[in-house]
């Protein structure tokens, strides 16, 4: 008798399972910020470290690993007004996209004291500006959403 009760209880749970799934799917997708997404929020609270930072960024529509990179926002570098690349050191590696194949990045060194440097033909010009403060060095990459 007990086994039958247990069986019927299990069957009821299985029967209600589909309803739970379809009814709850809207709040269980990966879209943080929904006040109804308890399961998801639980998942968010569960996450820690870099995974949490990534998820927090994702919930704000931001990829924390690419967000705020200076070269994306810099105006086109000309010989007269080159892109100023900051570095804590006397040189820094810069990459530009190959105009004929955007899956290729052409890398080169930009060194302090050198005239504006063009990495590819018809491409932008770059100069290096050494900065003392490491925080300044990181500034173009700063994404403030993670400060705590």
């Amino acid at each position: 008798m007990a086994a039958r009760q247990l069986g019927s209880a299990l069957l009821r749970r299985i029967a209600s399972y589909g309803q739970t799934t379809s009814g709850g799917s809207a709040v269980r997708t990966f879209s943080a910020g929904s006040s109804k997404g308890n399961e998801l929020l639980e998942g968010m609270e569960h996450a820690t470290g870099l995974e949490k930072a990534e998820k927090d960024g994702f919930s704000k529509g931001i990829n924390i690993f690419t967000e705020g990179e200076a070269w994306l926002q810099a105006p086109f570098g000309t010989p007269e007004k080159p892109v100023v690349v900051t570095s804590a050191f006397t040189e820094r590696i810069v990459g530009v996209t190959d105009p004929e194949d955007d899956s290729i990045v052409v890398w080169d060194f930009i060194r302090q004291g050198e005239p504006p440097k063009q990495i590819i033909e018809n491409g932008e010009y770059f100069v290096l500006k050494q900065v003392d403060n490491h925080d300044d060095h990181f500034k173009p990459h700063t994404w403030t959403g993670l400060d705590s």
Partner: protein, 267 residues
């Protein structure tokens, strides 16, 4: 965490660990010990036991570390999970090749049977197991366990912790029943692994499958405990997914074994 000290890439550069070294040493002891044991050298069994226990220990602590890195240290970003996915896919592909070799041996021996075994398959004098008794039951059990592990996956996706635990228990119980029935079948089999090429290929293929069922059962049991301790979330539960993939792989291998060796090869 300050933004200026935040890691600027999504990859996990692992800390130095003693486990690869210990694992390699344990594997060396296991293989040397096994060879010595099989050739009746003194203390061969002891060296094998030591190596094998060390290997088990290494597996336990290494995967414990991976669990810590994922659950408590937050190193498993989306990119890291993608790497783990590829790792598991490649591992399963290598397992497919492993079983492919046994099927090759079976078909090599059975499609054009040698004159030494009477030019027929099953070989002359071999009394085979009926596929429509325990093997068919085991097929149904494994298929059912494949369904229950999918139930567990949906439960995790929906954050239904209790259902995930129930369905994982169902899967593990079915796996244990399968292994038990397979063990009984082995005990009662009218042929042995030394009964020529039939016994050889049969026990090698089904035996390694059984071993994989055991590994999959351990994997799912670890997932059951991790589910109990709340490690899995709807958006991050790759440890479970890897176990489910592995379990489906074991399931599919059984279907090929059933159709090829038990059914076609038993007529």
């Amino acid at each position: 965490m300050s933004s200026s000290t935040l890691q600027r890439h999504p990859f996990h550069l692992v800390d130095p660990s003693p486990w690869p070294l210990l694992g390699a040493f344990a594997a060396l002891c296991t293989t040397f010990g096994a060879v010595m044991w099989m050739h009746a050298y003194q203390n061969g069994g002891l060296l094998f036991s030591f190596g094998f226990l060390s290997l088990l220990y290494t597996m336990a602590v290494w995967w414990r570390d991976v669990t810590k890195e994922a659950t408590y240290e937050g190193h498993h970003t989306k990119a890291v999970q993608t790497g783990l996915r590829w790792g598991m896919i490649l591992f399963i592909v290598s397992e497919i090749m492993f079983f492919f070799a046994f099927f090759w041996a079976f078909f090599h021996s059975s499609v054009a049977p040698a004159i030494e075994i009477g030019g027929i398959w099953p070989p002359k004098g071999i009394e085979v197991l009926s596929p429509w008794e325990v093997p068919l039951l085991n097929t149904l059990i494994l298929l059912l366990s494949g369904a229950s592990v999918t139930w567990a996956h949906h439960a995790i996706l929906c954050g239904e912790k209790q259902q995930a635990i129930i369905s994982l228990i169902v899967t593990i119980v079915l796996a244990i029943i399968f292994t038990g029935l397979q063990g009984l079948e082995y005990v009662e089999a009218p042929f042995s692994i030394s009964d020529g090429v039939y016994g050889c290929t049969f026990f090698l293929a089904t035996g390694f499958h059984g071993f994989h069922v055991f590994i999959g059962t351990c994997f799912l049991t670890v997932c059951l405990f991790r589910q109990h301790f709340g490690h899995f979330t709807p958006s991050h539960h790759f440890g479970f997914e890897a176990a489910a993939w592995y379990w489906h792989f074991v399931d599919v291998v059984w279907l090929f074994l059933f159709v090829s060796i038990y059914w076609w090869g038993g007529q």
